[in-house]
């Protein structure tokens, strides 16, 4: 069914619950039906968009615009406060790379668990573990406890797991910046290769890369979609807005 979109969001909104005291959280659970113990902080408002099968969509926006929250919702990590969404196919989320790893276990053992989280069976993992090791390319460190790894090595293992997860939808959050030049190239190449067979939704501050890769760009500002469309146009607008802001700050400071 090619008409079925890969990602469909209708009216997604997300409010975090801000509590003045930690104990209010418990009160909310116990007495929430009668009284509200938190203040709502809306970080996403009424997001409606679809991403077609095989489409590559880049998301740009400033820090705190809601980009990560949006990706977390689509991955099913956190639930939207209102609205509905659907994602068709297996997701490989490349979010905060490697934060789910256990420092006592080796890279290989962590890779097995990471792959199981993504939904791979033991047989599938067995068949792929050598490819994962080769892609991560960290040599004998793969058999060492992960607490001995550098940030870049952790990111390599994490990306390698997602690369072999057989995903239909790749959700990438500005995660590639920790690796070295060679590894970043490798990831970028993987992402461009992947774009020939799967759907990509990607946040990045590397605007040139997004402009090259994507079919569409989405500009998120203060939790709303400010613009969506042709990447060249959106990214030019976004750049212009950044420059304008910089200038107004400079004059404001002077």
């Amino acid at each position: 069914m090619s008409s079925e979109p890969a990602i469909r969001c209708s009216g997604i909104g997300k409010a975090f619950q801000l509590y003045a005291h930690q104990n209010d959280q418990l009160k909310q659970v116990l007495f929430g039906l009668w009284k509200q113990f938190y203040k709502e902080k809306w970080v996403l408002h009424d997001m409606t968009f679809t991403v077609g099968k095989g489409e590559r969509v880049g998301i740009v926006g400033r820090n705190g615009a809601g980009k990560t929250t949006l990706l977390q919702i689509l991955c099913g990590i956190t639930a939207p406060t209102k609205g509905a969404f659907e994602v068709n196919g297996r997701i490989a989320p490349i979010l905060a790379l490697g934060s789910g790893f256990d420092g006592l276990l080796t890279g290989r053992e962590n890779a097995r668990i990471g792959a199981a989280i993504l939904g791979l069976s033991r047989k599938e993992v067995d068949a792929r573990i050598d490819d994962i090791a080769a892609f991560a390319d960290i040599g004998p460190f793969f058999e060492q406890p992960m607490r001995t790894y550098s940030m870049g090595m952790i990111a390599r293992v994490a990306f390698a797991i997602c690369a072999f997860a057989d995903a239909d939808v790749l959700i990438v959050d500005e995660a590639l910046s920790v690796g070295d030049e060679i590894f970043q190239r490798k990831c970028e190449k993987y992402i461009s290769d992947f774009s020939r067979r799967g759907t990509i939704l990607m946040v990045s501050h590397d605007l040139a890369f997004l402009e090259n890769l994507c079919d569409r760009a989405l500009w998120l500002e203060n939790g709303v979609v400010r613009e969506i469309g042709e990447p060249a146009r959106i990214i030019a607008d976004y750049r212009a807005a950044m420059v304008a802001e910089e200038e107004s700050q400079a004059t404001g400071a002077a």
């Binding site: 959280q25 979010l95 199981a116």
Partner: protein
Amino acid sequence: MLASIPPAYLAPFERAWRHRELIRAVVRREFISRFRGSFLGPAWAVLAPLLMLLTYTTLFSITVPQLSAGMSVMDYAGGIFIGLIVFNLFSELAYRAPILLHEHVNFVKRSIFPSETIAWTATIRAFTYAGVAFGVYIAFRLFTAGTLPLTIVLTPLLVVPFFLFILGVVWFLMALGAFTRDVAHIMASIVPVLMFATPIFYRLEQIEQMSVSTAWLLRLNIVGDYIEMMRAVALDGHVPNVFGYLIAVAVSYAVFLAGYQFFMRYKSVIVDVI
């Protein structure tokens, strides 16, 4: 996706089955990381209960003879040991459940980790240790009494509902513990009290001889019921009262379902507050 939705009373199993590979991988990890860097490794799983058994046998059979009235020292020690295996299962998880989500905060907040499986892995791990301890008991019994009661084959019929009961409790405490750290403190003060309200060092029938109303109150403690039934099948060679057993199964299953519902209801909120 048009996945058929299973009825509510089967939903927890369906979720666990779907994530079985993950549960297996995480259980494996827990064992590996527990024994890594220790010289004796898995032998500790046997040594710890063995030491406990020897200590309780010597201490209690000497110091509290009136509790063991009418029983041989070995029978009494075996009874205590079964009681402790079952109760330790409960207490270990009651202490650990409220902090489980805090321990796995990176998994829960930063990856697509299905957090309800944490209860499965923690419970499976605890039951594995209890199983090893039960193996020690069987060896002890064969060594001291020479035989085992035939009714011991009924053990799985008790283990399964008890497992579900514990799982329900873990889900409930896990969710509650994510909202406030007080739950961990509450458990730390309740569990020791509960230990004495549970027939570990004594038997319910001894209380019944003294006061029927107290005995009825103690019957409400389902952990104690399981201990008594466990003793019946693994030590005394009796088949437990079928009516009592069915009630225990029904209550356990209800706790299991309620715990699951509670956790799933607050799961999405927990991610934001933890």
